[in-house]
């Protein structure tokens, strides 16, 4: 298929990989973070890490929408789903995320009316078909999915739909990156930038990474050659002593993103003072809620949700995985207590989660000799 196949050319991949070998200094360890879960998935699907020199380490970032949802929010969602007459809608992956007392799927088995949707517009359609029942959409995702929620809410308002509500869990990508860069846990040499989020926010928001923290970043596409190419770009910057934002995915990511989407988002949403991230704690100005003009559709205002902060289960090390501090197989329950069929933590649920990617592609352990 055009615009796909040329970025999967194995012969070219081989050359690029060989070229990467020439860029690294032996004796230096390179730690690059792929921010986006889509990249994690590509890396293990295509075995990209196998092509890299042993001293180039890829660590996973927080860019997986399902993975970052804390337990307390799942519990709030389940509480909403149990409200009388409510039809609760969410993306499929969310159904299997464990709360402190079971998943949304368990709540469904107990009789709650929970329906999976592919787009928030499906949820609005359900609301219009059931005018006498409240329909709640549990919104998750970064700036990639937030525009679809924003437009759906705008449309519901324009059409005067009174039974449609949104529990907003949308998050923004820059604050967790800043939190990671400020954390002493992790010394990163560069970032593989999130390609899909950038289609909306553009490249500009990442400029603080080189200017304030002195690290290179290359916004990358999702085909195997894109990822290799981005790694090549970052290592070239490091070798030449440069650090800047490069756009490997220029065919898809415009410098200014999608201004229309940003405009609608700023109309419908506003920043929360702080939002809790799974395993990462509260990060200020990192989450979105509905703006005042949309308060009558805000499920958190129209219903009282418990809003209790629940600590992650003891066995779960998703926080460390999301910050790139440990590899999935270093978590004690990885592959034993926690599997995609019976996940304990969020990173095992979605295909974008690092633990699921490791598990599905057979990475149960990996000791690489570090040069």
């Amino acid at each position: 298929m055009k615009h796909v196949d040329e970025f999967r050319d194995p012969a070219l991949g081989q050359v690029l990989a060989g070229e990467i070998l020439g860029l690294v200094e032996p004796g230096r360890h390179y730690k690059l973070m792929e921010v986006c879960g889509g990249h994690t998935h590509s890396i293990y699907k295509y075995g990209i890490d196998d092509l890299l020199p042993a001293n180039v380490e890829l660590v996973h970032g927080p860019g997986c929408p399902v993975c970052v949802i804390p337990m307390g929010r799942v519990d709030d969602g389940i509480a909403l789903a149990h409200e009388p007459d409510v039809i609760f809608t969410c993306f499929g992956d969310m159904l299997r995320v464990p709360g402190s007392d079971g998943t949304l799927l368990d709540a469904k088995a107990e009789g709650a009316d929970i329906r999976m949707v592919y787009s928030p517009l499906d949820a609005l359609r359900i609301a219009k078909a059931n005018p006498d029942r409240p329909v709640v959409f549990f919104a998750i995702g970064f700036e990639t999915t937030a525009p679809s929620t924003a437009l759906t809410l705008k449309r519901a308002k324009a059409e005067g739909v009174k039974n449609f509500f949104c529990m907003c869990n949308h998050v923004t990508i820059v604050p967790p990156l800043r939190a990671l860069l400020d954390s002493p846990d992790l010394r990163l040499d560069g970032f593989i930038g999130p390609g899909h989020v950038s289609t909306v926010v553009g490249v500009r928001p990442f400029e603080f990474i080189p200017t304030e923290y002195g690290k290179p970043i290359s916004v990358a596409g999702f085909e195997p050659l894109d990822v290799l190419h981005a790694i090549h770009m970052i290592l070239t910057q490091l070798k030449e002593g440069r650090c800047e934002v490069e756009n490997q995915y220029a065919r898809v990511v415009p410098y200014d993103g999608n201004p229309r989407a940003l405009e609608v988002m700023s109309e419908v949403f506003e920043l929360r003072p702080h939002f809790e991230w799974r395993g990462m704690g509260f990060i200020s100005q990192s989450g979105l809620k509905l703006s005042e003009a949309y308060a009558d559709m805000d499920a958190e205002i129209q219903y009282s949700v418990p809003g209790i902060r629940v600590a992650d289960p003891k066995a779960c090390q998703c926080g460390e995985v999301l910050k790139g501090v440990i590899k999935p197989w270093e978590c004690k329950v990885f592959g034993s207590g926690c599997t995609p069929e019976r996940p304990i933590g969020t990173c095992m649920v979605s295909s974008e989660g690092a633990c699921a990617a490791y598990y599905n592609y057979g990475r149960f352990a990996r000791e690489r000799e570090v040069v």
């Binding site: 298929m1 060989g18 070229e19 196998d50 999915t145 190419h229 220029a250 065919r251 609608v264 592609y361």
Partner: protein
């Protein structure tokens, strides 16, 4: 949530309520796509879609530039460097 591959617009139309919709071909699979955020997309354009909304238009010139850049990087590589061995099945490594 994210359809990672680009889809090609095969049909577009305007609904009674003014919404612009299109049908896009994702590697043989046809999906309806909303063009609210990219009303100028035309038949033949490639687009990346999230949760039913087209968010960006693929720029074929940039695509060509990227492939050319990739080739350049490879072709200008230093001689004598052994390319790493690529697993034969790396194009679509199946889950075990």
């Amino acid at each position: 949530m994210c359809l990672g591959i680009p889809g090609r617009i095969v049909r577009r139309w305007v609904q009674d309520d003014g919404a612009i919709l299109a049908e896009a071909d994702f590697a043989g699979e046809l999906r309806t796509v909303r063009l609210n955020y990219l009303p100028d997309l035309q038949v033949g354009d490639f687009t990346i879609v999230h949760a039913g909304f087209a968010l960006t238009k693929l720029d074929p010139d940039e695509a060509a530039r990227t492939t050319a850049l990739m080739r350049d990087v490879g072709l200008l590589g230093p001689e004598g460097d052994e390319p790493l061995v690529v697993p034969a099945d790396w194009i679509d490594r199946p889950a075990p």
